[in-house]
């Protein structure tokens, strides 16, 4: 089926004339029509626009003007502003918002010929690890527990719609954003490759801001090589983002074919946590064996401040969010609730427009930045952040990459881990440190748990050394031979 192709295969098939971009896009639009009412992965499907883009792709292919992604159908997280296409960030407060401009990352994908199928569901303002905080309803994970097919599992979050769409074959790839694990954790939950590049690799211009110093755009794909293809298109210097890095984008596809022979892979001992399911620990050891067998040297390293990463993150991220989200006041754009006077208008607009998790984080952020508490919370968290970066810098003085589990569990059920906010926050324990330090990370599907649910392994690398990250990830992928499929997928049992 056309929906089962990798991007690499689709690219070759389009160029060889085995099928057209219109046929490829139609196959995906049909699959979306069948499965999306159940999965709720897409918030907005752009049927006509996608077909127009596919026809343009076919014309380019016929003219011999094929680019990196000509005719490849993708899903776009609803955090990326898309010109003329509503962008909600999963929030009621942006329900009426139609951006007049295109984010740099999506503009790069369009420049390279991609077809946009639609905008995907997400946790509100990217705050969540389950997609349960979306104002537009939860997303169903296309994977099912073997023993309990009726249980509805979460796809992870915050980029849950993008992950579910790619897993269910409703797109060949997708964009996501990762502020504390929002690409890598859903990739692990949905059996996908998810890439968070180095801070500064992908422009944040036109991406609705959550926590600016932690937000990283990146891709979802079904193979490491497809992740490299997508990131190659998304990345690059952008003068419109002052934190965009002016460094060359190397050939990451080539990096996927290199050997790990002689590479030094670090195992951070602090990632071995009490209460972690034994299958995750076993998969981690298996991953190390695979890399050792492929010629890498395994080295024990220490990242002593790991355990403080989450707490530092839950000061820094809400602080930045409280500042970034101050713009949603109901005055110039977005939803408004009228009030008796101006202050009442602000307070009612924000109480009605934001969901409970967003309100909670804005309040935490407001508190840690307020007079008298700034030093005790915010400044201290920034110092701990410096120590976490220092841990990575020291480790990367001894090793080329680190291997860790991506998440402390497989996908859980809708409604689980909702009792108190901290239980949900703990999902990000292995992913958050890379956001605090800005180092690149990737999740690779590596095995199944006893319920038949996918589990990912995470590779972390030095800043701007995504090439080594892709080399190690591709070696894991080859050794794992992960070929399990989700229950709900185009042409599947669903």
């Amino acid at each position: 089926m056309l929906t089962d192709l990798t991007i690499e295969q689709a690219r070759a098939g389009l160029r060889a004339g085995d099928f057209t971009a219109v046929e490829l896009t139609m196959a995906h639009l049909h699959a979306i029509e069948v499965l999306n009412p159940r999965l709720n992965a897409y918030l907005d499907v752009r049927h006509d626009r996608a077909l127009d883009q596919a026809r343009a792709a076919d014309a380019a292919l016929a003219a011999g003007d094929a680019r990196a992604l000509t005719g490849i159908p993708l899903a776009i997280k609803d955090l990326f502003c898309t010109a003329g296409v509503r962008t909600t960030a999963g929030s009621k407060i942006l329900e009426p918002f139609v951006p007049p401009y295109e984010s740099t990352v999506t503009a790069n994908l369009l420049r390279d010929g991609a077809v946009f199928l639609g905008k995907t569901n997400m946790d509100e303002f990217a705050m969540g690890s389950s997609n349960m905080t979306s104002a537009y309803g939860p997303v169903e994970n296309p994977w099912k527990r073997r023993q309990d097919e009726s249980a509805v599992l979460v796809p992870g979050g915050s980029s849950g719609g993008s992950a579910a769409a790619v897993a269910a074959r409703l797109a060949l790839g997708a964009t996501g954003t990762d502020t504390g694990g929002s690409i890598r954790q859903p990739a692990s939950f949905c059996g996908l490759v998810g890439v968070k590049p180095t801070y500064g690799r992908c422009s944040r211009w036109g991406v609705v801001a959550f926590a600016s110093s932690l937000d990283h755009p990146g891709p979802f794909a079904r193979t490491v090589r497809d992740g490299a293809i997508l990131l190659g298109s998304m990345a690059g210097h952008d003068p419109k983002d002052s934190t965009s890095a002016d460094v060359p984008v190397p050939d990451w596809e080539a990096a996927c074919t290199r050997s790990v022979q002689g590479l030094r892979i670090g195992v951070p001992r602090e990632y071995r946590m009490d209460g972690m399911p034994s299958e995750i620990d076993a998969l981690w050891r298996q991953g190390l064996d695979w890399l050792r067998d492929a010629g890498a040297e395994i080295v024990e390293v220490s990242l002593p401040h790991t355990k403080y990463g989450l707490a530092a993150y839950y000061v820094v991220a809400p602080a930045e969010a409280s500042s970034n989200l101050a713009r949603y006041d109901g005055v110039r754009f977005g939803a408004r609730t009228d009030g008796a006077e101006l202050r009442d208008l602000y307070e009612r607009t924000r109480a009605n427009g934001f969901g409970s998790e967003v309100r909670r984080r804005i309040m935490i952020g407001t508190y840690v930045l307020s007079a008298g508490y700034y030093d005790a919370y915010y400044l201290r968290a920034q110092k701990v952040r410096a120590l976490i970066l220092q841990d990575f810098t020291e480790a990367f003085g001894r090793v080329d990459a680190l291997l860790t589990p991506t998440a402390p569990s497989a996908a859980f059920g809708q409604g689980e881990k909702m009792d108190d906010p901290i239980t949900m926050y703990l999902n990000d324990v292995f992913t958050v440190p890379a956001n605090l330090a800005g180092v690149p990370g990737i999740s690779v599907p590596a095995g199944l748990d006893p319920n038949g649910l996918p589990l990912g392994l995470q590779v972390l690398a030095k800043p701007f050394d995504e090439a080594t990250m892709f080399t190690v990830a591709a070696a894991l992928e080859r050794a794992a031979g992960f070929d399990a499929l989700p229950t709900l997928r185009a042409g599947g049992e669903g």
């Binding site: 009426p96 918002f97 139609v98 007049p100 401009y101 801070y199 500064g200 600016s212 110093s213 003068p239 002052s242 934190t243 890095a245 401040h305 355990k307 403080y308 707490a311 530092a312 839950y314 000061v315 409280s322 101050a326 006041d329 005055v331 110039r332 754009f333 408004r336 101006l342 208008l345 602000y346 307070e347 009612r348 924000r350 109480a351 934001f354 309100r359 909670r360 309040m363 935490i364 407001t366 508190y367 307020s370 005790a376 919370y377 201290r380 968290a381 920034q382 110092k383 701990v384 410096a386 120590l387 970066l389 108190d420 906010p421 901290i422 956001n435 605090l436 330090a437 800005g438 800043p463």
Partner: protein, 95 residues
């Protein structure tokens, strides 16, 4: 450090989020739970550590201070709740 109901109301007010009286107790519990968990940062010795503001290990670039974009008021005003000519029309925000 534990927040009392008055502090919860003050934070909500600073954040410009309306909080109904019935919500204060729940919020107080949740916020105190999160803040108590964050207290673990006090275990870390941060003496002499320079705070890190961001992941970008680079100097900010300078650019020419010139106009590079603009001239399409209809697009800019596309999301305005109301307009008068080429201006946003909004509730009175200056008192």
């Amino acid at each position: 450090m534990s927040l009392d109901p008055a502090t919860v109301r003050r934070i909500a007010s600073l954040a410009r989020i309306r909080v109904e009286e019935a919500e204060v107790a729940t919020l107080q519990n949740e916020l105190n739970g999160i803040l108590a968990w964050i207290e673990q940062l006090n275990e870390v010795n941060v003496d002499g550590v320079t705070p890190l503001t961001g992941g970008a290990q680079m100097a900010l670039k300078l650019r020419e201070d010139v106009v590079t974009d603009g001239g399409y008021p209809d697009q800019v005003l596309g999301n305005a709740p109301d307009r008068i000519g080429d201006f946003y029309a909004v509730p009175k925000v200056v008192e």
